[in-house]
Amino acid sequence: MSTLTPNDIEIATRAAENFTRLYYTTYDSPTRVGDLPNYYRANSALTWNGRPFEGVEGVRELVSGIPPTKHEVQSFDCHPIPGSQPPSLLVTVSGIVTHGKGPSGNPPNTPHKAVDGHPRVFSQTFVLAPDPNAPPTKSGEVAKYYITADALRFVG
């Protein structure tokens, strides 16, 4: 079995930091229907609150069906999954997400204890894998990674 070097861990950590920042920026942008699918490939498998979607077209369909979002990542973690080189990465993200206009979009006489409109806690898990078909485009780039699996749930 392949053993993980500190170098692998370090590259994985940096990858997770970059990925998390890029992914949610794209998700929250008005161009997400065009841009978000680029992180996926035809064989990507994803679920959104238990509903399955598949591939690039699936992602496009998914995000066409939800209101605009604003994510705030509160914690994330990443490790290389043993068993392949370059390794696949398991990334978990925990944070809050606001859909639509948030609390300010609620009608004026909304009772104080109503939770609708307020941000939800979300949990999202990714498996990132190296794309065997994409040659690295710049020097130093070890591989081009894409999302091969993605499971999201609202959890609070």
């Binding site: 861990i9 940096r14 992180y39 209101p67 509160q74 914690s75 043993p82 979009g105 307020h118 959890v155």
Partner: protein, 591 residues
């Protein structure tokens, strides 16, 4: 009349008095300050103003002069380059010509007056600017005669933060935009001079700090991207700085490279070598995305669904949980066989307060009486390495590495050191939600399992929420897992612990976006099912906003090319004329 023997030679008394009162009027000296006698100072080179360095092509207009509309020849006196329309300046110039002649500016304590400083810096920055190469060369600042000649405080000196601000602000106004800056060989000990650099030139691409005296990470942190700075920096040179040379000498070159790479997400070259990294197909500004009009919905086209298990017999997943969690609660050591020998494990605490739980007052409700007794410290610092929230580990790589547990033994050692838990997976299934499906990894197919739920933490008996992600492989024949009765083997395990939020979050059914939104009944959703997905989503959105029945909604959309915005506008125009039966009855919507 004889002059008093002790008085020093002065210019004609009258001109000095005029100069002094004019200065006072211009607000440059206060009433009681004595005017400085130029002859009392050591003489300086009094030559008329020239550029500090010979310009490569004296006949080509400088970028900054082109910008200011003043294409000019090399030797034009500085006075003529001052922006017109400032009467105070004009007054100062007039005085200068009259009373002094030898120095370039009337000064207080040897420094140029405030208004002129900026212009002097502008000229200096300009002389160091190469617009074709988009390169601002700020190396060896202190050796530059220009500064001495004009009494300018070098930005590299201790108390000259203002000079650095001025310089970089001027740099930010250069055209075309500055891409490359060299601050090489300036004897910099502190990185603080670069704070205004990061502020005024956030899109900088290449930076050289070669040959300075930067000693540690603190100096680089002034411009490190953790705080949103220099996010586009592609190339950095730190050769010759103690922070690099010492690490190389002590065999820590790899750590040095890692620490730098972590601080600059776009970095491609460090000290002339490529930086090993992983790429993503992130959108770039130059790629124009589809110009097709994308409908913006105000509702969710998709409902919250129950647990999702696909591609594997559901019993495998439930058998795993039924065995794993009781052992996690009561006998963590026995879990060692469930982990692959080279498995990876880490945990992190998300200490954020969940907004909806807070609004509902969960943490202070009678239903959960022990929440106040919970503390985060055991999760943040325990488990043989602490919480691995990569977004919060500000310091060095060491914590990042220590909090990742490699191999089954390290994993168990970490798990055993975590607070004691009580999960109730079997007893209250509605408090848990699972999503599981296959993931290909090279030649193999593994299983991704994510589970969300809650546990009671002992001894306080406060309740935490958690999210756990496993990557499972089928336990191979002869493996220790198989021998110990595990059908699956854990390759990777990540645990996130959070403040309690209600399991209501994953109750199946349609979800509201804003308070007061209508929700479709099951009957209405069934009626919409036959439609193609995106049409269905748009129909549902229109119906929830207007209460129109299916026929009218479909007609409205068809007549408007399925453009939701146009359809809504159309509806607003005609709604006064619509009959009552254009609308759905109340039972089409959830109570």
């Amino acid at each position: 009349m004889s002059q008093p023997a002790f008085s020093s030679p002065t210019p004609a008394p009258g001109s000095r008095a005029i100069a002094a009162s004019a200065l006072r009027r211009a607000g440059l000296i206060d009433q009681d300050a004595k005017m400085r006698d130029a002859s009392g100072k050591p003489s300086r080179k009094g030559a008329p103003k020239q550029s500090a360095r010979p310009r490569a092509n004296p006949y080509k207009p400088r970028a900054i002069d082109v910008v200011m509309g003043k294409d000019q020849q090399a030797a034009k006196p500085l006075t003529a380059r001052l922006a017109p329309g400032d009467p105070a300046r004009a007054q100062r110039l007039a005085i200068k010509g009259g009373a002094r002649g030898r120095r370039n500016a009337i000064s207080l304590n040897g420094a140029p007056v405030p208004g002129r400083v900026i212009d002097l810096w502008k000229e200096w920055v300009n002389s160091r600017w190469n617009p074709e190469a988009k390169f601002l060369n700020l190396e060896r600042i202190d050796e530059d005669e220009y500064l001495k000649r004009h009494g300018l405080t070098s930005p590299t000196s201790q108390d000259a933060t203002k000079a650095a601000q001025v310089i970089f602000k001027i740099a930010s106004q250069l055209k075309p935009e500055v891409e490359t800056i060299s601050l090489a060989h300036n004897g910099l000990i502190s990185g603080r001079i670069m704070v205004p650099l990061a502020h005024y030139l956030p899109d900088l691409v290449n930076l050289s700090l070669e040959g300075n005296r930067l000693g540690g990470w603190k100096e680089i942190d002034y411009i490190a991207s953790k705080r949103g700075r220099l996010q586009k920096l592609r190339e950095l040179i730190l050769k010759g700085n103690p922070m690099r040379e010492l690490d190389y000498k002590n065999n820590r070159a790899q750590q040095y490279k890692s620490e730098i790479a972590r601080r600059f997400p776009a970095l491609e070259m460090l000290d002339g070598e490529p930086v090993a990294r992983v790429g993503f197909d992130a959108p770039t500004a130059s790629v124009s995305t589809s110009t097709r009009h994308h409908t913006v919905l105000k509702s969710f086209a998709w409902n919250m669904e129950p647990s999702f298990i696909a591609g594997v017999d559901g019993a495998i997943v439930s058998n795993f949980f039924v065995r794993y969690f009781p052992l996690f609660d009561n006998q963590r050591g026995a879990l060692i066989h469930a982990y692959a020998p080279d498995a990876t494990f880490s945990f992190s605490a998300n200490t954020g307060i969940p907004p909806r739980a807070r609004i509902e007052g969960i943490h202070v409700s009678k239903e959960y009486p022990n929440q106040r007794k919970l503390e985060w410290a055991p999760w943040l610092n325990g488990g043989q390495g602490g919480s691995r929230n990569l977004g919060r580990i500000a310091g060095g790589l060491q914590r990042v590495t220590q909090s990742l547990h490699l191999g089954s033994e390290q994993t168990i050692r970490a798990i055993v050191d975590l607070p004691v838990t009580r999960h109730d997976v079997a007893g209250s299934p509605e408090k848990f939600s699972v999503d599981a499906f296959p993931v290909r990894q090279g030649e193999r197919t593994n299983l991704l399992v994510t589970v969300h739920g809650q546990f009671s933490e002992l001894p306080s008996e406060g309740i935490r929420s958690f999210d756990r992600s496993f990557v499972l492989a089928m336990a191979p024949e002869g493996s220790r897992a198989k021998q110990n009765g595990w059908e699956v083997m854990i390759l990777s395990d990540q645990l996130v612990v959070r403040a309690l939020s209600s399991f209501d979050a994953w109750r199946p059914g349609p979800m509201r976006v804003q308070a007061g939104d209508l929700l479709p009944s099951a009957g209405l959703q069934n009626a919409l099912l036959p439609l193609p997905e995106l049409q269905r989503a748009v129909m549902q959105d229109l119906i929830l906003r207007t209460r129109l029945n299916l026929q009218f909604a479909e007609d409205c959309l068809k007549n408007n090319d399925w453009d939701l915005e146009r359809a809504l506008a159309n509806y607003e125009q005609v709604k006064a004329t619509l009959p009552g039966d254009a609308y759905l009855p109340p039972d089409a919507f959830m109570a």
